[in-house]
């Protein structure tokens, strides 16, 4: 039996790593060097123990490729643990986006109305522009941007996802 590309799946991986210089370059380089897809990659110190960082990687590929990504990450010496949240647990995933929209008149009112529906907060406003702050799953943000494009979206900054398993389990 041979490995063939199959339907691409999106997986969210949580990776705990030693907080040492170059680890992010090493992980990003692993993806680039082997041709794996990165949808987003976020990193921060998240525990009392400042020697450990948590990296959240959203990636996509056929199941065999996801399996390889996990195996390759797992064998990097600074990597402590790799958890495939998509495969192992129900989890919550959130992303933050800052969205700049310009417009006047009806466009402006429509932008505010849509923002309310999506629970986006206005964090900056001028006579002809707004900056909205919106959080949610990547799909919600995609949808919000799609709507805002209609009413005057000119610039977006997104953080990439942070994800954590539901319930009382700790990875």
């Amino acid at each position: 039996m041979h490995i063939r590309p199959r339907q691409s799946e999106r997986h969210t991986l949580s990776v705990t790593v030693a907080n040492e210089p170059g680890i992010l370059a090493r992980i990003a380089g692993l993806f680039a060097g082997r041709g794996y897809n990165i949808e987003s990659l976020t990193v921060a110190e998240v525990t009392e123990d400042e020697t450990v960082s948590r990296i959240t990687i959203a990636t996509s590929g056929p199941p065999a490729v996801i399996e390889q990504i996990i195996a390759h990450l797992d064998r990097l010496p600074p990597v402590h643990k790799v958890t495939d949240l998509t495969a192992t647990a129900p989890y919550v995933e959130r992303e933050l986006a800052l969205v700049k929209v310009t417009g006047t008149g009806d466009h402006r009112i429509e932008a505010l109305r849509l923002a309310e529906v999506y629970r986006a907060r206005v964090v900056d406003a001028t006579i002809s522009s707004f900056i909205f702050e919106v959080t949610g799953g990547p799909e919600k943000i995609d949808k919000f941007l799609e709507l805002m494009r209609e009413v005057g979206l000119i610039e977006v900054a997104r953080t990439g996802v942070a994800a954590i398993a539901r319930g009382n389990q700790v990875i």
Binding site: H2, I3, G22
Partner: protein, 584 residues
């Protein structure tokens, strides 16, 4: 303070404490403190010996040869900038072939890092992709912990190169060593899951046409792993084939030995893989030179894949059963359970009868000539003349390498050193030097091509300096033979730039370095020439002039199935498709 030591002293003392006996290196501005520390300890009975190579690439390959032939970790010491970049090929070679290696590079002083200082380069950045791990150490107090961790990573699990970049100010600063605060456990899984062993044994016991497909991982797992393979084979009776890197793990004289498989493997090995109903892959990684066309690879076989590197399993070929662990321990566990269960050998006579039919093709036969030395003949005569001495053979890369793999036979591991994964021309001579340093009493021969040998020819001086009696046996056909062979096969004989023009007189070159030079150009003089090489106590270059246009067969053209082997030149026809060309 009494127990304050400089970074350079900490480095040397820690290496000595780890049992390092030899360092292969080349000095430069950014490692002068380390060289001074080496100098100051040279009179100690347990001093680290330094072998001065002629170019840093030679240091890395010599360390590989040392490691591969002794089972120890090879250690390399080079300066910053060009010293580090010259070593990159050897480091990559060690990564591809899983060779344990510790590389110490000098770096400009920490305040100068990032300023484009003289001989500065981002060594950690450059080597991130060709090391198993690497470090930039900025605090001498952390150095000892880093070295110990680096050594453990280089030698543990799937072995590989680990690099420590050491700024010059860290080498001279004094510090009290403290354990690394970032120390984490590097703990690859060695013991296999017993449930998987149980499944593997049952699959093996039920197979009618089993085959062991063995690789360099068995050599890396130490001589005990080769013993375990022999034991497991004896219990099951299954035939054995191996990759280029696995030669010697199973004795070539055993009747169940099929020879190497893959692109230049034997007819019997490739056909047996194709018809097998169970493949037990042991420390092998389904390299493309082995599998050929993937959708035609072993179509009837279930696969058990044993590897210490989890990422090798299901990377190229999906295994019904993947076992992560030390291959020696896995085979031992399988043999133990086989005995406990009271399994008998399956009756494999029908399977071996088919194998004998394939063997009857005598795929390694070649025509002899009364006037020209055939390269295969040269290797066979060299083998016959040396086999009682169990020589260590290194090679460069190309036709001579494949002919050596086909016609030189190995009974024991750690005797065959070749650049498999990266295919590095220029590997053989420095690797032979490293092997001779590690095995002073062994007969070490670099089988080379006239093109490959020139890639690191400067290392002749290293062998002279340390009185290392290595032999270089050049199969000189005046072509980059494998390039020319592919041009014959895929570009209708358009030999674009594959002719080795303006060759040196290798005999005079040998003499210039204080070596003995011998030229052989007549088949009738072949044995005498080899004997003269072996009788001479010092280093020798043999310039063996062989048939210019001989090609290496059998061969599976890339993009073809295992059963589509070309056995001789007459079967080569037509121009390849672009797709097949891309796969060569």
């Amino acid at each position: 303070m009494a127990d304050e030591r400089t970074g350079a002293d900490i480095l040397i003392e820690t290496l000595r404490d780890l049992g390092v006996e030899v360092v292969f290196g080349y000095p430069g501005g950014a490692v002068l403190p380390i060289y001074d520390a080496l100098f100051k300890q040279a009179e100690r009975p347990d001093a680290i010996r330094h072998i001065l190579v002629r170019q840093e690439g030679g240091a890395a390959h010599a360390a590989e040869g040392y490691a591969r032939s002794t089972g120890k970790c090879g250690v390399v010491l080079v300066t910053s900038g060009p010293g580090a970049t010259n070593a990159v090929t050897g480091i990559t070679d060690a990564l591809m072939d899983s060779i344990p290696m510790l590389v110490i590079t000098g770096q400009v002083a920490t305040p100068l890092i990032g300023s484009d200082a003289f001989q500065e380069c981002d060594t950690v950045g450059i080597t991130r992709h060709c090391t198993k791990h690497n470090y930039l150490v900025k605090d001498p107090a952390e150095l000892e912990g880093v070295i110990r961790e680096a050594f453990a990573i280089a030698t543990g699990g799937r072995p590989g190169p680990v690099l420590i970049d050491l700024p010059k100010d860290v080498q001279v600063a004094a510090a009290i060593s403290r354990p690394s605060p970032t120390a984490h456990r590097y703990n690859p899984q060695r013991e296999p899951d017993p449930a998987l062993i149980e499944t593997a044994v049952e699959m093996l016991a039920a197979a009618e046409r089993p085959i062991f497909y063995t690789g360099g991982g068995i050599i890396n797992a130490g001589p005990e792993a080769s013993d375990a393979l022999r034991d497991l084979q004896a219990l099951t009776g299954a035939p054995v084939t191996s990759t280029l890197m696995g030669l010697g793990a199973f004795p070539a004289s055993a009747p169940e030995w099929l020879g190497m498989l893959g692109m230049h493997g034997t007819y019997e090995a490739n056909h047996a893989m194709n018809r097998a109903d169970l493949i037990v892959a042991l420390g092998a990684r389904f390299d493309d030179r082995v599998t050929g066309r993937l959708d035609a690879f072993a179509p009837h076989a279930r696969k058990i894949h044993v590897d210490i590197d989890r990422s090798s399993i299901n990377k190229i070929v999906r295994a019904e059963l993947g076992i992560v662990g030390d291959v020696g321990l896995v085979m031992r566990a399988m043999a133990r359970l086989w005995r406990e269960r009271g399994h008998q050998r399956q009756d494999l006579s029908a399977w071996f009868a088919r194998i004998e039919e394939w063997r009857a093709k005598r795929c390694l036969d070649f025509p002899l000539s009364p006037t020209e030395i055939m390269p295969q003949q040269a290797i066979r005569r060299l083998y016959e003349a040396t086999k009682h001495r169990a020589p260590i053979i290194t090679t460069e890369v190309g036709q001579h390498q494949m002919w050596s793999a086909q016609h030189f036979h190995f009974e024991a591991p750690n005797k065959w050193l070749t650049s498999g994964g990266l295919g590095t021309m220029g590997y053989g001579l420095p690797a032979a030097i490293g092997a001779q340093v590690g095995n002073p009493d062994a007969l070490v021969i670099d089988i080379a091509g006239e093109a490959s040998i020139q890639m690191n020819i400067q290392e002749l001086g290293t062998a002279s300096q340390y009185e290392l009696p290595v032999k270089i046996f050049i199969l000189n056909n005046e072509y980059m033979g494998m390039v020319r062979q592919w041009q014959d096969l895929t570009y209708q004989g358009r030999h674009s730039h594959s002719y080795s023009d303006s060759l040196p007189d290798f005999v005079k070159l040998a003499e210039a370095y204080g070596w003995k030079g011998i030229r052989i150009d007549d088949p009738a003089a072949l044995d005498d020439g080899i004997a003269a090489m072996l009788d001479y106590p010092g280093p020798v270059i043999v310039d063996c002039r062989v048939a210019k246009l001989a090609n290496c067969f059998p061969m599976i053209p890339s993009g073809a199935a295992h059963t589509d082997m070309i056995l001789q030149a007459a079967e080569v026809s037509g121009e390849m498709t672009d797709e097949a060309r891309a796969l060569v």
